[in-house]
């Protein structure tokens, strides 16, 4: 019985994705136009500031290149309203924090990117963990 239910819901879920009318892909701006899947980036740097603004928050980090030259990158993130509701404050990511970002660079080649995965230098995720216990965690690639 449970097995049949499971399949039924998996099918329903698959079908409902198309009709799940809150899909951010339709709702949000086209990340695929802004960022380049062929320009993956991995940055390690120190936070200079975080803009807790909408529709997207921005984390600014100083990244030291191989030539020793420091470049400031801006990394796009989510709406901060939910973080505020969960009790985080603007002190949650203080300047000077060392973080590592896996993401993609902007299509226009500027020092701007989207942070697919963001971690502190010690490996902890930035604000919250993956969405639920037992979840698949990070996507492939």
């Amino acid at each position: 019985m449970k097995h049949r239910l499971g399949i039924q819901f998996a099918l329903a879920a698959a079908a409902s994705t198309v009709f799940f009318f809150v899909t951010p892909a339709l709702a949000h701006h086209a990340f695929a136009a802004e960022f380049d899947v062929n320009r993956p980036i991995k940055l390690r740097g120190t936070v200079t500031k975080m803009d807790w603004i909408n529709p997207h928050s921005w984390i600014y980090i100083d990244v030291k290149g191989p030539d020793g030259h420091v470049v400031n990158w801006m990394i796009e993130g989510g709406s901060p309203n939910v973080l505020l509701r969960l009790g985080f404050t603007k002190e949650a990511l203080p300047a000077g924090s060392e973080i590592v970002i896996d993401g993609y660079q902007a299509k226009d080649g500027s020092t701007r990117g989207v942070g697919k995965v963001l971690r502190f230098a010690d490996g902890r995720k930035l604000f919250l963990g993956s969405s639920a216990p037992g979840a698949k965690g990070e996507p492939d690639k």
Partner: protein, 313 residues
């Protein structure tokens, strides 16, 4: 009982046996004076005149008391908990949004707009007349004014902040309940929720700030913190930092008017706190309604036009 006659010839009085004349000589004299019909015409005229004078004195005193010591408030609408009901659609009738300080009429920045784009005159709404800038800040204000077309956030349809939202040339609507007061502004659909019950600290800066409200008698006092530094006070470059702290006071003064005061405190920009003061007028038309002014689409060409795809050669 006696019968009154006005005949000058008749001096007799008729009394019934049941009337008692007081024994005390002074009381008797008074009683006789009050009950003796006045037959002398001159005395009647004088008494009439004195009566009228007395009545006028009473009436005038009544009005004087009413005007010199106004009852609080003349606005009779009150919510069930006894506070003035500020609900309604309001707007200012001044030019504070052009310039908080006193200003004569002046040409506008867009020649094709002619008189439509020109600056109307207005008296200062700043108590004391001028805004007390610190020296470096005064220089920045001058620079803001010189570049106001590029720098005034209103040009880009950005949220106006507090107190500017109050005196924009657009109406706003107050919806008042005991625990929360909402203010919805026609300009850019700006909105504020004033918490009348659970006063918390602003967790983050925002364009419209964080509003905690309370009643002081019949005055709504709103403490506004958490304002970001991106708004201006007017179109003339008057500005502030993120240290801005505003305390607003809304006081009904008649059924259709309110006095609005805002105390401004920003030690990074001004040498001392200062205050603005103006009147809010109710939209009393039967069909008064806040309509939409969603100006974002009006500024897209201005803000994003240079990113448009050029037509191919």
């Amino acid at each position: 009982m006696y019968r009154r006659t006005w005949s000058a010839a008749r001096t007799e009085r008729t009394r019934t046996a049941s009337v008692r004349v007081p024994r005390d000589p002074r009381l008797k004299a008074l009683w006789l004076k009050l009950t003796t019909p006045v037959t002398d015409c001159r005395i009647r005229v004088v008494r009439k005149a004195r009566f009228v004078r007395g009545a006028m004195v009473v009436v005038l005193t009544w009005f004087w008391l009413g005007c010199a010591f106004p009852q609080a408030p003349a606005n009779r609408a009150r919510t069930p908990d006894g506070h003035p009901d500020l609900s309604g659609i309001w707007q200012v009738l001044n030019t504070a949004n052009w310039d908080l300080e006193g200003h004569a009429a002046a040409p506008g920045l867009m020649i094709p707009l002619g008189a439509i784009g020109a600056v109307p005159p207005g008296l200062s709404v700043v108590e004391g007349g001028s805004i007390p800038y610190l020296p470096e800040a005064a220089a920045k204000k001058k620079e803001n004014f010189a570049h106001r077309l590029e720098l005034d956030p209103e040009v880009k349809c950005y949220l106006p902040g507090v107190p500017r939202a109050t005196y924009m040339p657009y109406p706003f609507q107050i919806v008042e309940s005991q625990k929360q007061i909402l203010i919805s502004y026609q300009y850019a659909s700006a909105a504020r929720a004033i918490d009348m019950e659970n006063h918390k600290k602003a967790p983050i800066d925002s364009w419209m700030g964080w509003s905690n409200g309370r009643w002081e008698g019949d005055t709504l006092v709103v403490d506004v913190t958490g304002l970001n530094d991106a708004t201006w006070f007017d179109r003339s470059g008057n500005f502030h930092s993120d240290a801005l702290h505003v305390v607003e006071r809304y006081t009904p003064r008649s059924p259709d008017t309110m006095r609005y005061e805002a105390a401004i405190d920003d030690p990074k920009v001004f040498s001392r706190p200062w205050k603005i003061s103006m009147i809010l007028y109710r939209h009393a038309e039967e069909n008064a309604q806040l309509l939409e002014f969603k100006c974002v689409e009006f500024v897209e060409e201005l803000m994003y036009g240079h990113w448009k795809k050029k037509p191919s050669q």
